[in-house]
């Protein structure tokens, strides 16, 4: 049996270009392909929003308040007569930027701190106590405090969302490093006189990538939600700038008159988050050699 595994695995081990790797991941299952298409549509429409939208998303027209969907206003209008469809398309700009950047920032910061905590013993105690302290504060409360301190802007909102996520990433990375550092190949590198930096970058960090991608997609999803919550509580980005959270927060009071104001952005948020998570799973499966090996034995 070993022999079959080895020969099959040796084909899988051949070098592949990054592009064909991406293609392989996207087409690994129909569901993943669908998720990739949906996400591409959302991202592209956010980027090219000015070319797509039929109305200015911030123009108030009090005469057109709370209109039902029509050929002029595809999804109807909100309480100030602004076109809902245009606002959702523009809202993607803020929500996606906040989601992706919060995920990248939290994962990046958490990765560095987690590697240090996991590998350098004396730093571990210090760093982890700080992390414990941060985790003791409810994340929404912390986010509100940060926004209140510095005033609401997209950057403060981003920082406010990122900071409470970092401790979780640090803990995850640290636990992965603690088990990876016991691997004989890490000890062999120590014996070969490799520097701490080289060992972390070359032997420890790759072990954390697959779980981090999953964690990153969750953070991305939760950041979009937290941004919505902050907007909802009035501690987010100023209300006239549309974000998915903002739109829902404002639409809440008019739910009975025009439920679409909450439901449509809600649907877009759910679909976007689901797509991101599906893609994250697919990337994880492609990167994690243990998963790949199991695939061959199946």
């Amino acid at each position: 049996m070993t022999d079959h595994t080895v020969s099959a695995a040796s084909q899988a081990g051949a070098r592949v270009s990054p592009l064909s790797r991406v293609r392989e991941i996207v087409f690994s299952s129909p569901l993943v392909t669908l998720a990739a298409i949906i996400l591409a549509v959302i991202v592209l429409s956010a980027i090219f929003a000015p070319l797509i939208v039929p109305h200015d998303p911030v123009r108030l027209s009090p005469g057109e308040r709370l209109k039902p969907p029509s050929s002029e206003y595809w999804l109807g209008t909100d309480a100030f007569g602004r076109d809902l469809f245009s606002r959702i398309v523009y809202g993607g700009r803020i929500s996606l930027v906040v989601g992706v950047m919060a995920a990248v920032a939290a994962v990046g910061l958490g990765l560095i701190l987690g590697l240090l905590a996991g590998y350098i013993r004396w730093l571990d105690a210090v760093l982890m106590r700080m992390v414990d302290g941060l985790m003791a504060i409810p994340s929404i409360l912390l986010a509100i405090a940060i926004v209140a301190l510095w005033g609401a802007s997209i950057w403060t909102v981003l920082i406010a969302i990122t900071i409470p996520e970092v401790p979780r990433v640090v803990r995850l990375v640290r636990s992965l490093v603690l088990s990876a550092r016991e691997e004989p190949y890490v000890e062999a590198a120590i014996a070969a006189g490799s520097s701490t930096w080289l060992i972390m970058r070359r032997h420890l960090m790759p072990n954390t990538i697959a779980p981090l991608i999953i964690q990153g997609t969750y953070i991305c999803a939760s950041a979009i939600l937290v941004e919505a919550i902050l907007s909802f509580l009035g501690a987010g980005i100023s209300p006239e700038t549309p974000s998915w959270g903002n739109i829902m927060a404002e639409g809440r009071i008019y739910f009975q008159i025009n439920p679409g104001i909450v439901l449509w952005p809600g649907l877009v948020v759910s679909v976007a988050i689901l797509s991101i998570n599906l893609l994250g799973d697919a990337v994880r499966d492609a990167l994690d050699p243990r998963m790949a090996k199991r695939g061959i034995e199946r």
């Binding site: 079959h4 080895v6 081990g13």
Partner: protein
């Protein structure tokens, strides 16, 4: 009539005849007999056992053949019939006693659970039956054991619990899949004796799966040799060991390291390359903020290794032999004592001051699957050390190619990944990586323990050849007395962190002074048999 009869058994991956892993296996066991199924990894011996139990993983399917127990066809039996046959007609014990028991249930209840499923005894009857069985497997203080959790027992005790569970319904067939491989030799000897004893008492037939010829010579009546899913031969044990019919069996037997120490070599040099003085390592103990129990993992270990010689450190698990190796490599910091490598005491050097000294001493680990980073090409793994000490990438790579050829692999292998190699090949790569640093001392920490015997013999040959060519001093850590006897000039025996006996291999292994060394040698399976010469040692002396 045979108790178990397997005919033309074929097992294939996903039922694909191209990917057959067991290819037409025939096997028959008579009541009360012990049949040993021997083979190296990938021979299909465990799969045969799992197929008999109806426990094959889904990806593997029986494509042809029949397995009958007392004339009942198992391959066509329903799931519920198989469930009732397990434990009553046949049962199985596994290799790893650490994971085969439920960690959150008391062991007594785990034995009773078998009775609950398969009998209609009352609770009181079940308990007394379980207690009797625990007596039968010679567990001490049964009342207390009954209420213990698995983690409170030693490996040997856990394996006894497993055996008690397997035999409590008095099945006619016991399948034992490498039941002693994870155990120390002294424990192994006890478990083998127990299986023999229960077989005689209960008349159970035993299908014993092992890779260890020593174990075979101790317990088998008949032996079936498997290679890559095919039966090579089936013979009574004595005649197999004396007159193997196939080349494969002959090679397998010839690879078994003999327990008799090889003739002593004359020291070609008197240059000491590695020396420790009163090396100690203590774990735990009281600190400023915590209180803990002190564990003395190594106490007052003093060794000296001469250029071109091999020093073996032998001991059972927990003896501290690996602790000593890791201290010497400074992978852990020793508590006290000196470690002199090439004239410098490295025991207390800072990591920075230690770096230049690292070149002189390199290590090869036990597990070939984990000793190379799976994500980088092996060439990169080999040159990592040399690059840390400066020098160009091209020169290092050229050297890596040479080293690969030196250890018997093609130079072109530098661009491949670890998973493309077998266990023995990976161990060769690990040796090449160690040699890339031009060390004076090579520490081999159980470096051949995870390998099949034939591969083990090749790697041992490679080590001796390299030693001769490069004048390496080798510190060889092993639990296997046979291996130690074959390659060591000097042997140090450890127990509970202390040095029990230390001297030339011939003396320590041939004429031990200490009781512990004697017990260790006595427990080694197959020590009466000179496998490589196909005869017992007693006959060689005549």
């Amino acid at each position: 009539m045979s108790l178990l009869r397997i005919e033309n058994l074929r097992i294939a991956l996903n039922g694909d005849p191209q990917a057959e892993v067991v290819k037409g296996l025939d096997l028959a066991i008579e009541p009360g007999q012990t049949m040993c199924l021997v083979g190296e990894s990938g021979s299909g011996k465990s799969l045969t056992a799992l197929a008999t139990m109806g426990l094959l993983p889904n990806v593997l399917q029986v494509t042809d053949g029949s397995i009958r127990i007392k004339d009942e066809e198992l391959l066509r039996a329903s799931r519920s019939r198989m469930r009732s046959l397990r434990a009553t007609a046949m049962s199985m014990i596994f290799q790893e006693p650490m994971t085969a028991l439920n960690p959150v249930a008391r062991v007594g209840q785990q034995i009773e659970e078998v009775l609950e499923f398969h009998s209609d005894f009352s609770a009181a009857q079940r308990k007394s039956r379980a207690m009797d069985m625990m007596e039968a497997v010679h567990l001490p203080d049964v009342e207390k054991m009954y209420r213990s959790f698995p983690h409170q027992l030693s490996g040997g005790q856990r394996q006894r619990i497993m055996i008690a569970m397997a035999l409590v319904m008095r099945p006619q067939l016991l399948i034992a899949d490498e039941p002693t491989t994870a155990l120390d030799v002294t424990t192994q000897a006890q478990i083998l004796k127990l299986i023999q004893e229960l077989r005689e008492e209960q008349g159970t037939a035993v299908l014993f799966i092992t890779h260890d010829m020593g174990v075979v010579s101790e317990i088998a009546d008949d032996v079936t040799v498997l290679k890559l899913g095919e039966v090579m031969e089936t013979q009574p044990v004595e005649s197999l060991l004396r007159h193997p019919k196939t080349d494969y069996s002959r090679d397998l037997l010839a690879s078994v390291p003999s327990q008799v120490p090889r003739p002593a070599r004359d020291p070609s040099s008197d240059q000491i390359v590695l020396e420790t003085r009163d090396l100690c390592k203590t774990y735990g103990g009281g600190g400023l903020l915590k209180r803990g129990r002190e564990v003395k993992a190594a106490q007052d270990v003093s060794i000296s290794l001469i250029k071109g010689r091999t020093l073996g450190i032998v001991g059972e698990s927990g003896s501290g032999k690996s602790t000593v190796a890791r201290c010497i490599m400074r992978l852990i910091d020793p508590s006290s004592g000196e470690i002199v490598v090439g004239g410098t005491d490295i025991a207390t050097l800072s990591q920075r001051a230690l770096k230049p000294e690292r070149r002189k001493i390199q290590i090869v680990f036990q597990d070939p699957m984990r000793s190379l980073n799976p994500r980088i090409e092996i060439g990169q793994s080999i040159i990592e050390g040399p690059l840390n000490f400066g020098g160009s990438r091209e020169a290092a790579m050229k050297r890596a190619r040479e080293l690969l050829e030196l250890v018997g692999l093609p130079a072109s292998a530098v661009n491949r990944f670890p998973h493309q190699f077998s266990g023995g090949q990976r161990q060769r790569i690990a040796i090449a990586r160690a040699l890339a640093m031009d060390p004076d001392v090579l520490v081999a920490d159980e470096a051949v323990s995870a390998l099949d015997v034939s591969v083990q013999a090749q790697v041992l040959d490679l080590l001796s050849e390299l030693q001769e060519r490069l004048g390496l001093g080798i510190l060889f850590i092993t639990h296997d007395l046979g291996v130690a006897a074959q390659i060591c000039d000097d042997v140090l025996v450890m127990q509970h962190g202390r040095v029990v006996e230390y001297g030339p291999a011939g003396e320590v292994l041939g004429n031990p002074k200490q009781d512990y060394t004697k017990a260790l040698i006595k427990a080694a399976p197959g020590r009466h048999w000179d496998f490589a010469n196909f005869r017992p040692f007693a006959e060689a002396a005549e």
